[in-house]
């Protein structure tokens, strides 16, 4: 890379080591990979040891310290893609291109492998070429891709429709159905402040001089609390309490409060945040600005998952327009001292970075390892400053609340779950896509709406969520019954629920950050156990092992990833036991070592495959 362009990238990022990962991304976008020369240049320019640069970069699936092919193809490997035939499609592409999965072709032209769910579940099977999503992949498309790769056609000249990503909204409610006018939330709130007068809780903050930046009176906070808004990222934490804790956290000299929007959307089967950012970005950014107003923040970040990199220019455009319209920047809508702006940080393929403290580490330019808590981000977040992290949908809801008031909002949904929830529906149904319902909708109602037939099970809230069986379809989507981050994967009666669980377990093993012993080793042990069952070598003893691993993961893991890694296995063992029993070879212990398998080489060499050449007759039809 020319030293000039590295120079300008460094300049864009203030030459700050905290921006290391964004600098690496931009360098890689120009050069294809991060060369030793780049690492050496950054070591000097940022005064960061090279081992730290390499340690951080190698944590992320989409940053490359080794040369990669001119075409880097990643098949989304969620169970939904697999149900759509992704494995055969990948095999087809590998055959056409003469490459082995996971290896760079000999001419250095192309590599083909898998990646975790890319958030295109309603229009899959999906893949990424050099980071760009291609949706609705079928055999014809694979053949056409292979042709272009062989002819080395630049990606910019590939047919545009391949890269088309649809919103597929099938049911709109208060959020997806609103024609939100940019700035309307801020203005409505500001109007209310003037008429309401300064309330008790503000006087205190004014007096203590706590909030800086927007210096917002407590009106916004009070509306959010009154609305009973709870986080949409999964845990369902009360948003008002989080914001209040951040607002009240003391600031040291030179510190600011920080607002972070979590658009990492890594939970397989979830894609609602992609649509919100595509078609409702103003609402999301306005929600962030209102949050800044409520907590007194001047700086904001949107942490955008790497799979959604294609949205970056669009989002930057919306931010630029909002700056022009005085909805960001200085003295927002004319309120003196109301200063707030948002930067976008692009991620690089690491599910764990959706966990809020890992996300903050990543924002700081480091490996995405969850922090020890306490202290919590609300007091010690980004660069130790008070920070709120909220989901995309939470901010969008906050904008609606500012516009229409907390009283209006709290009357929608159920008593413990106010408002609506956007569900990302995929799998065996006629109309996969987004469905927004008021909280309290039953699983059966959603299945009806999306045209699902003969449904065997629904995975609600992704692999870390719940496997819901047919007898439970009257259960409700809400925090008091089935809480969800949004995924709703449908499996009809033809599906093998064991394979569903095995796919999820592979996902957790692939995404474990490796920080703590139970999760780093435990998720791999669990994956090996599930593969052992898959290969027909399981015994009831393995259930005890799964139980044991589950206990260790739940009790001792460092973060939510490890805590929930066994959920899909336990749920499916409990509800779909026959899917497991049919795989058990013996009713007693079976070692992982398979004597018959070990003899296969000898059989091949001697050209024998008769019954006597096998150890144990039941092996004959196993594979």
């Amino acid at each position: 890379m020319s030293s000039g362009s590295l120079e300008s990238i460094l300049c864009k990022y203030d030459g700050s080591p905290h921006n290391l990962l964004q600098i690496l991304r931009e360098v890689q976008e120009e050069e294809g990979w991060i060369t030793p020369a780049t690492v050496a240049a950054l070591e000097t320019a940022l005064a960061v040891p090279r081992a730290k640069i390499e340690g951080a970069a190698s944590f992320y699936s989409f940053l490359h310290l080794q040369p990669v092919g001119r075409y880097r193809i990643l098949f989304s490997d969620n169970i939904i893609d697999r149900m759509g035939g992704s494995q055969a499609l990948m095999e087809r592409l590998c055959n056409l291109l003469w490459v082995e999965p996971g290896k760079l072709s000999e001419d250095g032209l192309v590599s083909v492998t898998t990646t975790s769910c890319t958030g295109m579940c309603d229009q899959g099977p999906a893949l990424l070429v050099n980071g760009r999503a291609i949706t609705r992949v079928d055999e014809a498309r694979i053949d056409a891709i292979a042709e272009r790769v062989r002819a080395q056609v630049p990606l910019a000249e590939w047919p545009g429709e391949w890269f088309q990503v649809e919103d597929n909204v099938h049911r709109r409610d208060i959020l997806l159905g609103s024609d939100f006018e940019p700035g309307s939330g801020l203005r409505a709130l500001h109007a209310r402040v003037e008429t309401d007068g300064i309330q008790a809780s503000n006087t205190r903050s004014w007096r203590e001089g706590l909030p800086r930046g927007l210096v917002g009176p407590a009106t916004m906070l009070d509306e959010i609390k009154h609305a009973n808004l709870r986080g949409r990222g999964g845990a369902g934490f009360t948003t008002g309490l989080k914001w209040e804790a951040c607002r009240n956290a003391p600031l040291a000299d030179g510190q600011d409060r920080i607002v972070v929007c979590n658009a990492d959307e890594g939970e397989p089967g979830t894609f609602k945040d992609r649509v919100l950012l595509t078609s409702h970005a103003d609402m999301v950014f306005e929600g962030m600005t209102l949050a800044a107003y409520a907590v007194g923040a001047r700086r904001g970040f949107l942490y955008l998952r790497g799979e959604y990199r294609y949205l970056l220019e669009h989002l930057e455009g919306v931010l630029a327009r909002r700056r022009r319209d005085n909805l960001l920047g200085h003295s927002i809508i004319g309120i003196p001292g109301a200063d707030f702006d948002i930067k976008i940080h692009v991620g690089f393929g690491a599910y764990v970075c959706g966990e809020e403290s890992a996300l903050i580490e990543s924002l700081e330019g480091k490996r995405g390892t969850p922090r020890n808590r306490p202290p919590f981000p609300v007091t010690h977040g980004y660069l130790d400053q008070p920070t709120i992290v909220n989901n995309v949908e939470t901010f969008a809801a906050a904008a609606l609340i500012a516009l229409n008031g907390g009283e209006w909002y709290k009357n929608i949904g159920t008593s413990h779950s106010a408002g609506s929830k956007i569900l990302s529906v995929s799998g065996d149904c006629e109309r996969p896509g987004l469905y927004e319902f008021p909280f309290g909708v039953s699983v059966a109602e959603v299945l009806e709406a999306c045209g699902a037939k003969d449904t065997q099970a629904v995975q609600v809230s992704g692999p870390s969520g719940f496997t819901i069986a047919a007898h439970e379809f009257d259960r409700k989507i809400c925090f008091e019954d089935i809480p969800t981050a949004g995924a709703f994967m449908v499996f009809d009666k033809t599906r093998d629920m064991f394979q569903v669980a095995r796919n999820f377990v592979h996902f957790f093993a692939h995404e474990s950050c490796g920080f703590c012993t139970p999760c780093r080793v435990g998720t791999s042990l669990l994956r090996n156990l599930m593969d052992k069952l898959h290969n027909g070598q399981g015994s009831p003893y393995d259930f005890e092992e799964i139980e044991k691993l589950n206990h260790i993961l739940q009790a001792m893991s460092h973060c939510g990833l490890g805590h929930s890694a066994c959920n899909p296995v336990l749920d499916t063992i409990e509800k779909f036991r026959p899917a497991y029993d049919s795989r058990l070879l013996h009713q007693q212990f079976t070692p992982a070592f398979d004597l018959d398998q070990a003899l296969s080489q000898a059989r091949q060499m001697t050209g024998r495959d008769d019954e006597l050449a096998h150890f144990g007759a039941e092996h004959g039809d196993k594979q």
Binding site: A51, E54, G55, N372, R520, K548, A555
Partner: protein, 235 residues
């Protein structure tokens, strides 16, 4: 009046700001640990020090002591769970104690004895982790690394060098050194570095010092790891 909490039925005094493990060790009560070291900021990654505080599992090296806490540590349940963690660490790497220079001085081995671990239980992973013998005085045998990051913290925080760092993620996580060649010989590591002294297992070894103390007379040959409290405080 000093404040106290309850650990396995015993009253333990603590200073404000102390973690549970700090207060326990100071009071002469052993809690198994591998990534904790009194001189460094707690890491909280090995999870060996997990205790139950008011019924909930938590790492005692990161949890601050508070008045009136009810803490359980030396229970059958917790020791069983810790044993499983040690087994995980054994199968994750390549540990062959009889031929290891650190045998008898190794905290992983000693903790395994302490917890009554009889077998690795799980299938071995047998990872491929090449040895780095490039340095004239030091040997790095990554086969035994348990990713406690003590050397990383010591080099960064005490030696001011950052010779070591963690790379990749998940089960592929491993240690790297700060050199373009990736070889220890090309770093500015020095024999006096704190980072060279802290490894709890047999990764960072002095060359030609092998077996200077005969097996049978080593640290944990004389007394089990729980009997080395002062050492746990200072080493």
């Amino acid at each position: 009046m000093t404040q106290t909490f309850i650990l396995d039925g015993r009253e333990i005094p603590f200073e404000p700001g102390q973690t549970i493990i700090q207060a326990a060790l100071a009071a002469g009560v052993f809690i198994p640990h591998l990534c904790y070291h009194p001189e460094f900021k707690p890491h909280g990654s090995c999870k060996l020090c997990t205790v139950k505080v008011n019924g909930r599992h938590t790492a005692s090296c990161t949890y601050k002591a508070a008045p009136g806490l009810e803490v359980q540590s030396n229970t059958e349940e917790l020791n069983g769970e810790r044993r499983t963690l040690v087994q995980m660490l054994f199968v994750e790497g390549n540990h062959f104690c009889p031929s290891c220079e650190k045998s008898g001085d190794c905290q992983l081995q000693a903790t395994a004895y302490e917890l009554g671990m009889m077998s690795p239980h799980f299938d071995h992973f047998f990872p491929d982790r090449p040895v780095d013998a490039s340095h004239p005085e030091l040997l790095l045998d990554f086969n035994r690394c348990i990713l406690c990051s003590l050397c990383v913290r010591a080099s960064r925080d005490v030696d001011g060098k950052s010779v070591f760092a963690l790379a990749e993620r998940g089960i592929d996580s491993h240690l790297i050194v700060n050199a373009a060649s990736g070889r220890l010989a090309d770093t500015n590591v020095a024999l006096e570095d704190k980072a060279v002294q802290v490894c709890p297992v047999g990764v960072i070894l002095r060359k030609r010092k092998g077996f200077a103390v005969p097996i049978g007379q080593r640290t944990y040959d004389e007394a089990p790891i729980s009997g080395h409290l002062p050492l746990a405080e200072e080493c």
